[in-house]
């Protein structure tokens, strides 16, 4: 579209008029007269709300993808910590299966299980779970289990336990969480899945018993969840049939 010089001139004049009007309107003396008026107050509040929401909306939309990528990277990093690299050659983030987990009291009604596959056959699974009853709130964990039900690794993702006492469940603070490697429902009796104080297998910490007790119990419930769905999880053919439903 081409504009002839006359139209451009007219447009320029119009813009000049509007700018003049806006400058006069924004004069502090003019605004001082307007401020007590109810309609002005309503307009200003609405204007600010509009600007704020547009700004937030645009920012949210433009960063959504980036944030999702960052979260995926985080998840991938924690998956790699609990499933040894030699066990899989697939992208676990893409190979997932949702199983109902409401009855296991591990935080969510449905748990997303990430499936590790080596040359097409399932070698291990991995999922996030929660001990909802930690000493000062939920303890979020992630666990890798091989296809026979042995624990490959457990890590605490986030928690609010007492610093210096309960935080020994973190791999960075002590090797307590590493003691679960190789354990399974088959090689440890149900009564042993608690802290030594309760006659179980795992250490409690000096000054903190609830944190490790509840963590052990949640890990036990996570294993039960795996066992209940073991056939479906380790059989790729069943994944497909489920996807088609």
């Amino acid at each position: 579209m081409k504009l002839d010089p006359a139209t451009i001139e007219r447009l320029k004049e119009k813009i000049a008029v509007y700018r003049e009007f806006l400058r006069n309107w924004l004069e502090p003396s003019n605004l001082a007269q307007l401020r007590p008026k109810l309609e002005f107050q309503t307009g200003v509040l609405a204007g600010f709300a509009l600007i704020a929401s547009v700004l937030l909306g645009v920012t949210n939309c433009s960063t959504e993808g980036t944030i999702q990528r960052r979260l995926d990277e985080d998840l991938k990093k924690s998956l790699e910590e609990v499933v040894p690299a030699a066990l899989y050659d697939n992208d676990m983030l893409q190979d997932t299966l949702n199983i109902p987990s409401a009855e296991y009291n591990i935080g969510a009604n449905e748990t997303t299980v990430y499936i590790a596959k080596k040359s097409g056959s399932v070698s291990a699974v991995c999922f996030k779970f929660t001990a909802p009853d930690g000493y000062s709130g939920a303890i979020n964990m992630i666990m890798g289990i091989d296809r026979d039900g042995n624990i490959l690794g457990v890590r605490v993702l986030s928690h609010k336990e007492t610093p210096g006492l309960g935080d020994k469940i973190e791999a960075a603070k002590s090797d307590w969480i590493l003691k679960f490697v190789g354990r399974s429902l088959d090689n440890l009796a149900p009564a042993k899945w608690t802290v030594k104080k309760d006659g179980g297998e795992f250490d409690q910490f000096a000054g903190a018993t609830i944190t490790p007790r509840k963590s052990v119990q949640a890990i036990y419930r996570g294993l039960q969840l795996f066992k209940a769905h073991q056939d479906q999880l380790i059989n790729p053919a069943l994944h497909l049939s489920r996807d088609n439903e």
């Binding site: 704020a52 937030l56 944030i67 610093p163 210096g164």
Partner: protein, 232 residues
């Protein structure tokens, strides 16, 4: 001096005389919540600094537009929008930092110091002064956060600026020092009560210094009334 008297007064108020924590006793919630370590304090201080400069600037720009009757909702709206923006942008572009500070960013909204500066200063002053005030108030807050964090971290675990490299990047690893080797740890200082106790010590320290300064002024006046008269 290159800086005019107004700017010097704003700076002195922000950093010392009318410091957000020591002078106004504001922002104690975020202060006590994050100062378990000096690094956390530094991160929170930097985030607050950015937000308080931006909110002061914005509110000063729009000060003629904002009617007195509805100024508080507008301030809250602007501050909340700013904090959310910082929160989203940090999550996207400074994700490692966000994982350390994420929880605290949202806490800035509850930082009444921001609303306090908007109400008491930015809404009445030209933009340049408001920005300078934001910078100085933010710096004053940052200094207290780092001081309190450092004091608590040294007494609680014997280290200083642990994990600073996570916050600031590998080139800042030199900041991480073990002050007391083989320290057994003093748990109380890492917990919230330790924050209150240490803050009390810091406030006492500030008062003592102020008192010393005042005493010296008085003694100068008493000893040499002539000079004092000439000065006034």
């Amino acid at each position: 001096m290159f800086i005019s008297k107004t700017y010097r007064k704003i700076a002195a108020d922000g950093i010392w005389n009318n410091n957000i924590v020591f002078g106004q006793n504001l922002a104690l919630c975020p202060l006590l919540a994050v100062t378990g370590t000096a690094t956390n304090g530094l991160g929170m201080g930097l985030a607050t600094l950015v937000v308080i400069i931006a909110s002061n600037g914005l509110i000063s720009v729009a000060r003629h537009l904002i009617p007195g009757e509805i100024r508080i909702p507008i301030f809250v709206l602007l501050i909340a929008a700013l904090v959310t923006l910082v929160d989203i942008l940090m999550n996207a572009w400074a994700h490692e930092l966000y994982k350390v500070l994420g929880l605290f960013i949202a806490l800035i909204v509850t930082n009444c110091a921001l609303l306090g500066r908007a109400e008491a200063f930015a809404s009445k002053q030209p933009v340049k002064h408001a920005l300078w005030d934001g910078l100085m108030m933010g710096l004053g807050f940052l200094i207290v956060l780092v001081a309190l964090g450092a004091a608590r971290e040294i007494s609680a675990s014997g280290t200083l600026f642990a994990n600073a490299s996570v916050l600031l990047g590998e080139s800042f690893r030199f900041l991480e020092v073990t002050v007391i080797p083989n320290y057994k740890g003093f748990l109380l200082m890492a917990l919230p009560p330790g924050g209150f106790i240490m803050l009390a010590f810091l406030i006492v320290g500030k008062r003592l210094i102020d008192q010393k300064i005042a005493e010296r002024k008085v003694s100068v006046t008493l000893l040499s009334p002539v000079i004092a008269e000439e000065e006034s």
